[in-house]
């Protein structure tokens, strides 16, 4: 071990870094930018208040008294805000979709002392968060039922969602993010490196010496990679959405191919969306490869390009509406942040 030689290596590395402002920026700037983004996204998802409405579909006295008890019982909970203005089922559903409500308790028309069924309706887009609000509601329900005419036994609670299904798993809600992210990621890397190699290998120079135009090259690239992007999107979506059960055959046990993720909307729209995303990644790959001088530098673009992309996708569900008056305009609120209750 010769300290002089070690020092020489250290000096060389420092010198290389000083010549490479991009890597330096990445080293110091990128983590801050990404952590800031993540912090913004994650903190915005922390809704510690659950906005609840109780809808009474029954006509009898039993239901009416239960609703009143339920509402006051729910209001006793610290993290729950009850919206008493919601009267019917369709308004409640619309408000759930508009993200003005988090949860709707519905007493169905056939609710009676004999048929004790209560429906809990959520949006169905964030299974984990929605499931976490259930115990609070259940507690309120127990207390409401305890001093009501319904009797000592607890009504059965049926969960329902507007999108997806009530027993959706985390995978169901994460699948779109994963599909979009990885299709985008791999197409970007592939196109970026491929175009970069064109430049480094001297073939781009040679291409430009032929009558081919730049637009023809970019269009050719988009179409060429578009073929493979389309195949990739088809395969990935098929794997995620479909589920193929293979029966046991001799010594081979039964198994399933595909995840069988449930979709709320049209799979066709999802297909078109992911395809557009992939073609966007082709263009971005070509564009950013012009700023890179080596394959390593393409990889350096990953945190700078891909992570913000993932964050912006995750934050698209961010709600900025006022909790009490349900106004989308933050002006209605005296409080500094729009996601708190307004003074109205």
């Amino acid at each position: 071990m010769n300290p002089l030689r070690v020092a020489a290596v250290v000096r060389r590395i420092v010198a290389q870094f000083r010549r490479d402002p991009r890597s330096l920026a990445l080293l110091f700037g990128a983590p801050i930018a990404i952590i800031a983004l993540l912090g913004w996204v994650l903190s915005s998802q922390q809704t510690n208040t659950v906005r609840v409405a109780v809808v009474n579909e029954t006509t009898g006295q039993v239901g009416q008294s239960l609703v009143v008890k339920l509402q006051s019982s729910l209001e006793g909970q610290p993290s729950i805000v009850v919206d008493r203005s919601v009267a019917d089922d369709s308004t409640a559903r619309q408000m759930l979709k508009d993200k003005k409500l988090d949860l709707v308790v519905i007493l169905p028309p056939d609710f009676s002392l004999q048929n004790r069924k209560i429906e809990l309706l959520t949006l169905g887009l964030n299974p984990t968060a929605e499931a976490s609000t259930l115990p609070v509601v259940q507690q309120a329900l127990i207390r409401a039922v305890a001093d009501s005419a319904v009797g000592a036994t607890l009504p059965t609670i049926e969960r329902a969602t507007i999108y997806g299904s009530p027993n959706a798993t985390t995978l169901d809600s994460l699948a779109p993010v994963v599909v979009g992210f990885f299709v985008y990621f791999f197409v970007f890397i592939l196109t970026g490196i491929s175009f970069l190699r064109e430049r480094l290998g001297g073939t781009l120079e040679r291409l430009l010496a032929t009558p081919v135009t730049r637009a023809e090259i970019v269009l050719g690239y988009s179409l060429g990679f578009g073929i493979f992007a389309t195949l990739q999107v088809t395969l990935v979506l098929a794997f995620v959405l479909a589920r193929l059960e293979i029966p046991a055959l001799g010594p081979v046990p039964a198994f399933a191919i595909g995840l069988g993720v449930r979709t709320a909307g049209s799979p066709l729209i999802a297909y078109v969306l992911v395809l557009v995303l992939a073609l966007g990644a082709v263009s971005l790959g070509i564009f950013l490869s012009t700023f890179a001088r080596s394959e390593l530098q393409i990889l350096e673009f990953i945190p700078l390009v891909i992570v913000p992309q993932a964050c912006s996708a995750a934050s698209s569900g961010r709600s900025t509406s006022c909790l009490r008056c349900s106004s989308r305009s933050p002006d209605c609120c005296r409080s500094p942040t729009p996601s708190t209750v307004c003074a109205r």
Partner: protein, 259 residues
């Protein structure tokens, strides 16, 4: 005594008028004037960083001049239409390593609108790769890759051919064949501009241009340049032109002089 084309001679195939190209502070091409009549082989000779490649890139329309004009076959470069009449063999091989010999050649030929298979086969025979058509370029030897690169530049029968160090890594026997073919092309009326630093190659050119610091030091037939410098050796001739022309004459010798 510079070679001045007589008025009766045909219009120059390659022409530069006060051609300059700056990269920031660096003056890669610093006001070159030249006029090269067609049907001949011109050799660009100069040390590393003298501006040979930049000059070729300007003439081949791959870069826009800072000032002055670069004209090929009477058309100002860069001109995309004109590129169909120009062949350019880059210093790096500029071929796709994953693609086979045939796929590489037919791709570049297609960009020029060439689809005639028989014609492409003739080109491959010329560079002696006709038995390797299915081989991926990455599996070829360095010399074979050079030959493929050459084939890709020749396939569309360009009237003007720019060859940036075409014979690097090519064995002597094949190098002779290359040059024989260059002379055949010139005899058919093509104009070739070849950059090189191998001196015995320089002797095979019809005319030489000594380049240094982005300027043409001297231009003329190899024999004539030797006579003017009063030496038998082109290297010595280059150095003598360099020392007489440059005030801050730091001795620069063409690369390969030591080889």
């Amino acid at each position: 005594m510079l070679v001045v084309p007589a008025p009766a001679k045909p219009a120059p195939a390659v022409e530069a008028v006060a051609l300059r190209k700056n990269f920031g502070e660096i003056r890669a091409v610093d006001g070159i004037d030249m006029s090269l009549p067609p049907g001949r082989i011109y050799g660009l000779l100069g040390p590393n960083g003298s501006g040979k490649t930049t000059l070729i890139r300007l003439l081949a329309g791959l870069a826009s001049p800072t000032s002055g004009r670069a004209r090929v076959l009477g058309v100002d470069m860069p001109s995309r239409q004109n590129l169909a009449r120009i062949g350019y063999m880059t210093q790096s091989d500029g071929i796709y390593p994953e693609l086979s010999v045939w796929e590489n050649l037919s791709f570049f030929a297609a960009l020029y609108g060439l689809t005639n298979k028989a014609e492409l086969r003739t080109v491959l025979e010329l560079v002696e790769l006709d038995k390797r058509t299915g081989t991926p370029a990455i599996q070829l030897s360095g010399g074979m890759r050079r030959r493929l690169s050459m084939a890709c530049a020749l396939a569309h029968h360009p009237q003007v051919l720019f060859l940036d160090e075409p014979t690097v890594g090519v064995d002597p026997a094949l190098r002779i064949q290359f040059w024989d073919h260059f002379h055949r092309l010139a005899a058919d009326g093509a104009t070739l501009l070849v950059s090189s630093h191998v001196m015995d190659e320089a002797d095979r050119c019809d005319e030489l241009l000594f380049i240094r610091d982005g300027l043409v030091l001297a231009q003329g037939a190899p024999k004539e340049l030797r006579k003017r410098a009063g030496t038998d050796n082109l290297e010595t001739a280059f150095l003598s032109f360099a020392s007489t022309s440059a005030a801050d004459a730091t001795a620069a010798s063409p690369e390969g002089a030591a080889r």
